[in-house]
């Protein structure tokens, strides 16, 4: 009977399904934004081939402030359980192309052949001789309009450093900026101006091995990639904001569906009274309501998922990247949660439904 009502009152239920679809779309887009921002916060950090990361103890797990000396790197590399290690330098830079357009980037310094070396997806890898070569992330190339073979200027400390893009990589973002990989010595030059041995040799160190996380001295501390990610400046606030938006999205969804079905139930009191007078149990009537809620929410979600996917695809093709990314899990989990919250919302009507007295079928109030 519940489905027949939907079939015969298409317009009324289509409107409810449309509202569910819009809310579901909103929640999906917020989720997509959350994942996208998460990617931008540090997908390159998450993709590092390391079991632990070493930060300068005084940096309070800030990659901007972390500076490791050659002695500290040497000390860390000789720790028990370390099977591999690599220094990694970080500095945020503005790059300038031949037309003078500026693109921000995270300039990372590494040693070719080490575990910090990124995988090249186009062009070629850097060799020890490529002092003025760099590997650019696909996101950087897209944002700047540059390609392999183009020249790019990195101004730093009132000096212009000229680099040539020799290869493309797909490591994503580090600290909200697309990554550029250069040789460690080049990074030191950009950041400190010279390769003086007294200057720091890296920002952080990547470590492979067992039972490394948690070790610390006055010079360094070793943390997991997850801890490092969570301590990227702004990540916690950003994720808390996105999570709050998601929770509110679900709450509003539950409320809207709940209110819709509450109003529908109120409108159908006479009909519910008639069904009860004819011998229908409250459970039977609730099953009809549940069928309708499930049908409407599933339909709403079925509309919103392809819509959100299409929006994500279109936004991804825009020259200016909007940080939206979807995973299969996002769609499945969000869809299930929307349906579940819709059902929870509809439960508001259960009490009302149970209280309908069959005597109203006779036009009497008890």
């Amino acid at each position: 009977m519940g489905l027949k009502e939907i079939q015969r009152r298409k317009f009324q239920f289509a409107l409810i399904a449309l509202v569910v679809a819009l809310i579901s779309y909103l929640v999906l887009m917020i989720n997509g934004l959350g994942i996208g921002l998460n990617e931008q916060a540090g997908s390159a950090l998450r993709r590092l081939d390391a079991d632990a990361l070493a930060y300068a103890k005084s940096s309070d797990l800030s990659v901007i402030r972390s500076e490791l000396s050659a002695e500290t790197i040497d000390e860390i590399s000789r720790l028990d359980g370390v099977s591999g290690w690599a220094p990694l330098g970080y500095v945020g830079v503005n790059t300038r192309d031949s037309k003078g357009d500026i693109t921000t980037a995270a300039l990372l310094g590494y040693e070719p052949g080490s575990i910090a070396e990124p995988q090249v997806t186009g062009g070629r890898a850097l060799t020890g001789e490529d002092q003025r070569g760099l590997l650019a992330d696909a996101a950087f190339l897209k944002a700047s309009g540059l390609s392999v073979g183009d020249r790019v200027t990195v101004p730093s400390r009132l000096t212009d450093f000229e680099f040539t893009v020799v290869g493309e990589i797909d490591e994503g973002y580090f600290f909200f900026q697309p990554v550029l990989y250069v040789l460690l010595d080049s990074w030191r030059e950009v950041k400190y101006g010279s390769a003086d041995p007294s200057l720091p040799v890296a920002s952080i160190a990547l470590l492979k091995g067992r039972d490394l996380v948690g070790r610390a001295t006055e010079a360094y501390e070793l943390v997991s990639k997850n801890t490092a990610f969570a301590n990227i400046e702004g990540v916690q606030g950003q994720q808390a904001t996105v999570n709050a938006l998601r929770v509110f999205g679900f709450l509003i969804g539950a409320l809207v569906v709940g209110i819709f079905f509450y109003v529908l139930t109120m409108q159908k009191v006479a009909q519910i009274g008639l069904l009860k007078a004819l011998g229908a149990s409250s459970a039977y009537i609730f099953r009809q309501l549940l069928t309708q809620v499930l049908a409407v929410t599933v339909l709403g979600v079925a509309v919103s998922v392809p819509l959100a996917y299409a929006t994500g695809t279109v936004l991804g093709r825009l020259p200016k990247t909007v940080p939206i990314a979807f995973t299969g899990d996002t769609f499945v989990v969000t869809s299930v949660l929307i349906v579940v919250t819709g059902v929870i919302g509809a439960l508001f009507s259960v009490r009302q439904l149970a209280r309908v007295d069959p005597i109203i079928a006779l036009g009497q109030q008890q």
């Binding site: 009977m1 027949k4 004819l278 011998g279 039977y284 079928a361 006779l362």
Partner: protein
């Protein structure tokens, strides 16, 4: 199967103390198998309350209602719902049909609420609608039916689960007298053809005159019981 109904010292009081309203007071009567009974009386006389108690829609304040020797006043809420579903067929005055269902689906709803094979239920629904002269209207939505057609569909629905009692509340209130008489004659014919016990509340004495027995109520009391020599429906 024909049913007998025995009502003994039945009463219903709303509220208490000085505010108490005695809707039905000490009503007793017994029926014979196959009777079609009309309950008449002015507004507020307690006739609909009496019908509601017999139909398991209201719990009496006192007294007994026995249907084929089964006491129904002590049933739980769930048992009363099952009693209404399986032993009683209702025809109400208003809001009688589910508006978004067709005539046929309004009959089949009884099968959905209860249990039974769909195919047999569909055959029974078609047969009932045919008997009620609604063959051409089986697929019409309730909202597309005339007042008389709607009441005839309600009669079909009341008979769907082969009940013991058919309880009817002011079935002609929204109909003109010609349509009303056709509906009542049709109702009585179908109830009698199936050997059911029928009880109809009506304020219209012309309709009541078609019944076998007239129960007259006033101020909650049963003031008169009259068995009619011959019902016009028979003739």
């Amino acid at each position: 199967m024909s049913a007998t109904l025995t009502v003994t010292a039945l009463s219903k009081t709303y509220g208490s103390g000085a505010l108490a309203v005695h809707a039905v007071r000490d009503v007793s009567f017994a029926t014979q198998p196959g009777d079609f009974i009309a309950i008449v009386g002015p507004s507020g006389s307690g006739k609909t309350t009496l019908l509601a108690m017999i139909g398991g829609l209201l719990t009496p304040s006192g007294g007994s209602i026995r249907v084929n020797d089964r006491e129904i006043t002590r049933l739980s809420a769930a048992e009363r719902a099952a009693y209404r579903r399986d032993a009683v067929g209702f025809v109400f005055q208003a809001n009688n049909l589910i508006p978004f269902l067709t005539a046929r689906e309004n009959l089949l709803i009884m099968n959905e609420i209860g249990s039974g094979r769909r195919r047999e239920a569909a055959e029974r629904a078609d047969r009932l609608l045919d008997d009620l002269g609604l063959t051409s209207r089986v697929g019409a939505l309730a909202t597309e039916l005339s007042g008389g057609e709607r009441q005839r569909v309600a009669i079909g629905r009341a008979l769907m689960r082969d009940p013991l009692l058919v309880l009817v509340d002011e079935p002609t209130a929204n109909l003109d007298s010609e349509q009303g008489e056709r509906v009542i004659r049709s109702l009585i014919a179908e109830v009698k053809a199936r050997d059911k016990l029928g009880l109809m509340v009506s304020h219209d004495m012309r309709m009541a005159a078609l019944a076998d027995v007239i129960l007259e109520m006033c101020d909650g009391h049963l003031t008169r019981q009259a068995r009619q020599e011959k019902t016009p429906a028979d003739g």
